[in-house]
Symmetry: C2
Subunit: 434 residues, 2 copies
């Protein structure tokens, strides 16, 4: 563990350590470590990942003991329910962290990849080579598994990472950090490529967001408030993930059986996540046939429905949707339903109320599928598939560090490739510019 | 021309129009236009580009008349020399603008491109499709040709553009804008996809930088002061281009004839640009042989030399380089020379003093070339080639909207591809998540 950290836990108070340049020190060490990590071989990085996985498993008792301190501190503060559940580390969750690290080890190393080279008229060969970003800062809320997941993805892609988790999970995160850093060092790589910010004050985030000379990218993961706070205060580029207001559109040419299955799955398979459907759009021509069937299925699954006037008329006993409902990310067993007159109305509804996350059309019409695919401006646009497939694992990226809902640098789930950049490489034979 | 613009030029003063939401209005119209432009066909966009080129040529007299007003206003303000030269529009420069637009028309359309698709175990086909960013804001200094170049690149890549040029060139930019907008409209596309900010106050930039809901990317082009101002004040992602402190390293295994040619070309072919060499690094083992030869060539070309102590010893009459000289972007016939003991010292000098722009190694050693290529962290890393090749045209991108010296979104010259993002497309057959 670094000197500054030991000093802090002995005799300084939080603000003091921050004033004394704690964040600057962490970021500088991260940058130095990133220079070494950027040229580490795939074998070295994969070895470090496996060692971390083995050691997390081996030191399960230590992790669970430290986590129990966080859990009891949180209960004392009156935290309960879902938050406590997310905070808990148990053998199953440790197994899942180690499994994740092993999966990341098995991915292709993006660093050094050159997808193609081209020849210039003067004989120069030009290509683009993938390179790490450098130092990534991750600011997240209380799930301690993010600490291991994010460290693994950053290590694989050759980046140092600075992890700033929620205050409730500080002891759990520090315990995971300890095991990760010792494992990295045992693998011959610099331990400073993974650092957990050891203080829990918000001021530490503000300090972190100023360190543009050392940190290359900030990824906030959490509620909209956190993300806005980070975006407004950062001089470093931020990859944002705002809400997921996802839509399924049942086209007039839909196979209604597929539509039923896809719509129900998109809503109920796991309603509390960002790629769950929040609004169902149904073409007017099939509404009378489709709505009663889906209504029955949704009610059976405990879904509360808010409908447009047409939906209310067809279904009778559903609640009318208000204008603000269409913008809502319920993350719950609640669903808006709107009847639209055509594909264009569906697309403009999505453009107005959606959050550019995930939209799916159910149709057997080639032309309508193609029209939807090319016109909808979301990070994932699907044909005849559940919106629940928009995550890094399901799309085949292996694992994800987050989902970007803005188009700069990355759009949609971000895997190891999205934690890299490219540089031009130019192979000459003495060429000069005339 | 838009209503707000006409109203402004008749009776409002600058601040008033800004207060009344001028920038917000411009940005909103740009966003609306971008939705239409994003689905325009390549033929429509190319037709618009050719029409603009033809009309710029046809209305040369109008452009030159308006430009003369800027020139005389600037001379009255005491501006002279290089600045006046950059500001001037003449038949040759109009020809070069139209040539640029025609070249952009001939490039492949990046929008809609799907480079490959992969199959998931559940049968889903997944791919990434290129899409426009939306609205790009360009903030630049006094060269009016940027107005036409940037408009062309944004149009080709399906983006609306808001152009905020230097105050000295406002009449020239408005004249170019008028022709571009009329040509776009004549081609059946929305004229609001190209807008020049009609006011010259800095306050307009500040307003623009707040409009994150409408503008997707800001590209500042100009001096370091402008770029820092934009970065510090923007809530919108900024693609930065700081300085170019470029290096050539003459390795111990260099072909010294190639080295001489490449080093001289990198310095003198056009010293005032960002990809010109500012520091020459020479391996100690070849310094005594190489330095007198290059010295002679550089002196012949009028280059002033600042040397490290070894260089001064070998060459006798050169000025010693100070610590700050190594950071300097001279943009002039001035050059630092440093003798290094090996490849690692060359690479760490570049890491410490360089600006991640362009570096070239001259060597016949496969291992050293490879080592340099993989370890140097710059937007273009070259072997046996002049640093002057780091621009969009020379690298084969067709044309460039700028050069990014930070690694987020794009690194190095940015062509039409770098003005796009990608969305995931998912083609299913009724798949749901189990």
């Amino acid at each position: 563990m670094s000197d500054s950290v030991i000093r802090f836990s002995k005799d300084n108070n939080f603000s003091d350590v921050i004033e004394k340049g704690l964040m600057n020190n962490i970021a500088r060490k991260a940058k130095d470590a990133s220079r070494i990590l950027s040229t580490a071989s795939s074998a070295q990085k994969n070895n470090a990942l496996s060692t971390i996985a083995d050691n997390l498993l081996k030191h399960s008792d230590f992790l669970i003991t430290e986590n129990k301190k966080d859990l009891s501190d949180s209960r004392e503060k009156g935290i309960s329910g879902a938050l406590i559940d997310r905070l808990e580390i148990n053998p199953k969750r440790i197994a899942s962290m180690t499994e994740g690290l092993k999966q990341v080890a098995s991915l292709n190393d993006p660093v050094g990849e050159i997808s193609h080279m081209w020849k210039r008229p003067n004989g120069l060969s030009v290509g683009k080579m993938r390179i790490p970003l450098g130092v990534v800062g991750i600011i997240y809320e209380s799930r301690p598994n993010v600490t291991a997941d994010a460290a693994g993805l950053c290590l694989k892609s050759g980046n140092s990472v600075i992890l700033r988790g929620g205050s409730e999970s500080i002891k759990s995160n520090r315990a995971i950090e300890k095991i990760i850093r010792e494992s990295i060092e045992a693998s011959g790589l610099p331990r400073d490529c993974v650092q957990v910010v050891p203080v829990t004050e918000r001021k530490a985030i503000l300090e972190m967001l100023k360190l543009e000379d050392f940190i290359d990218l900030i990824i906030p993961r959490g509620g909209e408030g956190l993300i806005r706070f980070v975006t407004e205060n950062s001089r470093i580029p931020v990859l944002k993930h705002y809400k997921g207001v996802c839509h399924v559109y049942i086209d007039e040419f839909a196979d209604l059986k597929k539509g039923l299955r896809i719509a129900v799955n998109s809503k109920v398979q796991r309603p509390g996540v960002c790629n769950a459907m929040e609004t169902l759009l149904v073409n007017n021509k099939v509404a009378k046939e489709f709505l009663p069937d889906i209504h029955k299925e949704l009610v059976k699954n405990g879904v509360e429905i808010m409908g447009c006037s047409n939906t209310c008329e067809i279904l009778g006993d559903v609640k009318p949707a208000s204008e603000t409902d269409w913008y809502e990310e319920y993350l719950d067993l609640k669903l808006n339903i709107k009847v639209v007159k055509d594909l264009d109305e569906a697309i403009s509804h999505i453009g107005k109320y959606g959050s550019m996350h995930t939209e799916s059309i159910v149709t057997e019409s080639y032309s309508n599928a193609n029209y939807f695919l090319n016109r909808v401006e979301s990070s994932a646009v699907m044909i005849n598939a559940s919106t629940r497939f928009n995550d890094g694992f399901e799309l085949g990226l292996g694992a994800e560090i987050g989902i970007s809902t803005s188009k700069i640098h990355a759009f949609g789930p971000m895997g190891v490739n999205e934690l890299t950049s490219t540089k031009f490489i130019v192979l000459g034979d003495g060429q000069i510019k005339e």
